[in-house]
Subunit: 521 residues, 2 copies
């Protein structure tokens, strides 16, 4: 069982330090502390364990340190920034594990960009040594990259020539779409295993700034301070992310035999604003985040997630009112960010998602996002079965495509729908908010059949279908990373040329040359 | 060796007829005339041979029948419109063959939309019987879908539930992005093997019009005539697409051992406008189209295409001037369309593309598009080595992403570049038009090394990398089909759950149930 909770006191791989408006995250990987046995994390390479710490550290900075305006990502080792994902870990992982690992890494990096865009936290990659593969992809997620010009350190994306796989954690996409590197130079760069040194890296737009070793520390300080100037984080007292302990809001029942998880979310009770980790929206985000990650990584064959809610929809609407009224407060802004990123995690989860709406449900406002994220929603046509929208369904939690779930649902042609009104099943169906509304007589059979049928279909076909249907409308860097790049990487990860006995990923480091089937597909 | 040339006299599967402004293409598949042995094309299902005829027929209509304004796609069989790609053909094809087949099918369908958008040819799918899988995907490519309401015919995308693969020839993408079907209804539709009948199909936006059997023919006629009203095709004398015979403009040398093809294109000599299939731009499009298809389908392991040109760049620029002056002429418009679609075919070819520019080359204007489509371009820094741009490099041949190759190259930040001016290597490099400009001393070694190195890399990693780097910038329905949907389908096509001994695609029709590995990836 992989555990996604940690605390800076227990970090093995990152050193987190604070100095006024600047937090520094220095990667100093403990070689022997890999998450699984069988590999050593040499050369500041990472595995899921390293990324779990990064995810935790970013949340600590977001909530516990509102005074931080710039985060510097750098290395605690000399001459080696980060050599990327550990190859031996990849080579020994199953296909599903590799893909789940890459997805989590992707999400954490997208979260860096999300915080930069939406909550004023700026990121500087201070590349103080060689920076390869996933290491460079991490740097690409930052607002700016400063690289040491020491005549030996290089940046590189050596995956294609060395490993026969892609720089798949955003690398290819961010090169051309974010940094606007010319495609032929990107092609050269991505096929040159040894990478490029600082001067050429700057010329090709691979990094923003370069500095000689003796000037590096000072330049890093100045760049971090300059980035801090464009941050609007207010400072003040942080909110400690105390240990979650047992779930209170999110109940997860896993039926291993049927390969179904039922996730029941309790609605809010106490509506007042409270600056604590126990405040409903923040606790909801944290518990839901943990539940999704746990299901994703520890229950690979549970292919259908059935979401239910229990509570008062009007209470949820009132809480959304409180959230809206204080949306400018940094803590509320960070909480909404956590919810936004968690709902986004749901969208890109490779599991079928059904929402079940019954009397006693509270799919309203923020919680209605779960039903809108679902592939299908079933609503019992009976008294007390109600759904409702609030301000927060109209853009506060954008999907990866930049649109609200409502706008995506209606392919940009959303009807006029009242906010704050409770809709019964008939009205919800008319408005297109739910998929089907069986009555008491049909309900149990219809739900049972739908669930059984879903659980019987090819998991691969469903994953690919859902990834295609969930993101209609415009594309963004994020959808391109999750849709296009990830799909190609999944394909490559499944090909004998990469993972067969003589595939490039398998033989890496053994001295043997890979053997390829030369057919182009 | 698959031959992509045919003629209506030799069609096995389509009946092409003309009636004033309306051409009718009736699918009446000859079961026993499959392109390869081992399967029967039952239930109006198709294989590559059926699609080769469709590709030919569309070009005949475009060039030989300028009086046609609407093309009706229908079935020549009773109660069965088309049941999609033949499953047994797919089940017995290699991974590379399946993917190459799907790509060609995709391109032909995109060509339908291209002609509707750019040259006034409108398309009506007259669905006069059951319409499943690829059959419905063909209908989706048309401007309008009319479906018979006979209480038994259905439209369906049964790939996921029946075969464990995707509706991958544009199906998923066109549902939500083109027809704006709500994603939960799309989800229901794509997991319901039996499909939906006419009334629900209309309600869910899967078709535009429905008609009872007795009213179907009249409704089809009226819809076709109505579509013709919005066409601006002028009528007049067509231009016969006479048999190409031997290549005159495009020379292809395949080095099987090194797995490299060298494609040398001769520039234009005669510059005058001539309404014939031998006119340079049209012949160029046809020969290049044939060469690309031949290399793609008959030389799977030739992973690197090296493009050269021979001729006078100024002549090419002058010919572009002639093209521009007569761009409104229907024949020139169709010729530019053929070039546009052929260049687009190059972009989505899963082969590495290098352009080699030397003294005597004529990479100018229209032919410069080849160099701009290349992953890299090498230009010898010597007298007589020149490139040039014309009007046609600035948007006349958009890529699938809707941008010119020049705009895509510079990620939307294209510098000001003069049209009609010949640039030497130094200037071309400064302008960012070429990747590298070795001089005489380095030239041979550098080119040889670059080619050898490219040909040594993992073909899968290159395919996936190129697909990611070639299409920076905005996404369109086309890029989503080729990038996202195709990538997912490639992955599914490679998974044991589809193609393993007990995979859904393999066991289809055998009576056996597929066996799945339930892990979600």
């Amino acid at each position: 069982m992989i555990n996604f909770e940690t605390h800076p006191d227990r970090y093995n791989h990152w050193k987190l330090s604070y100095d006024g408006a600047v937090a520094t995250l220095a990667l100093d990987v403990a070689e022997d502390k890999g998450l699984a046995p069988g590999y050593k994390l040499k050369l500041n390479s990472y595995d899921l364990g390293v990324d779990i710490e990064l995810h935790d550290a970013l949340n600590r900075i977001r909530f516990e340190h509102p005074e931080v305006k710039t985060v510097v990502l750098t290395s605690g080792k000399s001459r080696m920034f980060c050599s990327g994902a550990n190859i031996y870990m990849l080579g020994t992982s199953s296909h599903a594990t590799k893909v789940a690992f890459c997805k989590f890494t992707n999400e954490t990096r997208n979260g860096i960009e999300d915080s930069s865009e939406s909550s004023g936290l700026k990121f500087l990659a201070a590349v103080n040594g060689t920076c390869a593969g996933g290491g460079y992809e991490l740097a690409l997620a930052c607002d700016e990259i400063l690289m040491v010009d020491d005549r030996s350190s290089t940046v590189s994306l050596p995956e294609v020539p060395l490993l026969g796989v892609l720089p798949g954690t955003g690398g290819l996409t961010r090169l051309v779409d974010k940094r606007k590197v010319r495609r032929d130079l990107a092609d050269l760069f991505c096929t040159t295993a040894e990478g490029v040194r600082a001067d050429r890296a700057k010329e090709w737009r691979l990094v923003d700034h370069i500095a000689k070793p003796q000037a590096f520390a000072e330049e890093m300080k100045q760049r971090a301070e300059k980035l801090a100037l464009i941050s609007d984080r207010p400072g003040g007292q942080g909110v400690a992310l105390t240990p979650l302990g047992e779930n209170r809001l999110v109940k997860v029942d896993v039926d291993k035999e049927k390969r179904i998880a039922t996730i029941t979310i309790n609605g809010p009770r106490d509506l007042k604003m409270e600056k604590s980790a126990d405040w409903y929206p923040l606790r909801l985000a944290r518990e839901l985040d943990r539940a999704i990650l746990d299901l994703r990584h520890n229950h690979l064959d549970v292919g259908l997630w059935v979401f239910k809610t229990a509570g008062d929809p009007e209470a949820m609407l009132r809480l959304d009112g409180v959230l809206k009224a204080s949306a400018k407060d940094w803590f509320v802004r960070e909480t909404l960010g956590y919810l936004r990123r968690t709902l986004s995690r749901l969208d890109v989860s490779s599991r079928s998602i059904f929402a079940i709406i019954e009397p006693g449900s509270c799919f309203a406002g923020t919680l209605m996002e779960i039903a809108l994220a679902a592939d299908r929603s079933y609503m019992l046509d009976a008294a007390g079965s109600r759904v409702a929208l609030s301000h927060f369904n109209f853009g506060a939690y954008p999907m990866a495509n930049g649109l609200s779930r409502l706008a995506t649902r209606f392919c940009g042609e959303a009807p006029e729908i009242a906010r704050g009104e409770l809709f019964d099943a008939k009205r919800a169906l008319e408005l297109g908010l739910v998929t089907a509304t069986p009555d008491d007589i049909d309900w149990e059979d219809e739900i049972r059949l739908a669930i059984e049928e879903r659980a019987s279909l090819s998991p691969d076909a469903l994953t690919a279908m859902e990834a295609s249907l969930r993101f209609a409308g415009p594309e963004t860097l994020q959808t391109r990373v999750f849709g296009r790049l990830t799909a190609w990487q999944n394909w490559v990860f499944n090909r004998p040329n990469a993972v067969g006995e003589q595939g490039a990923l398998k033989v890496y480091g053994s001295g043997a040359k890979p053997k390829f089937n030369w057919e182009r597909v």
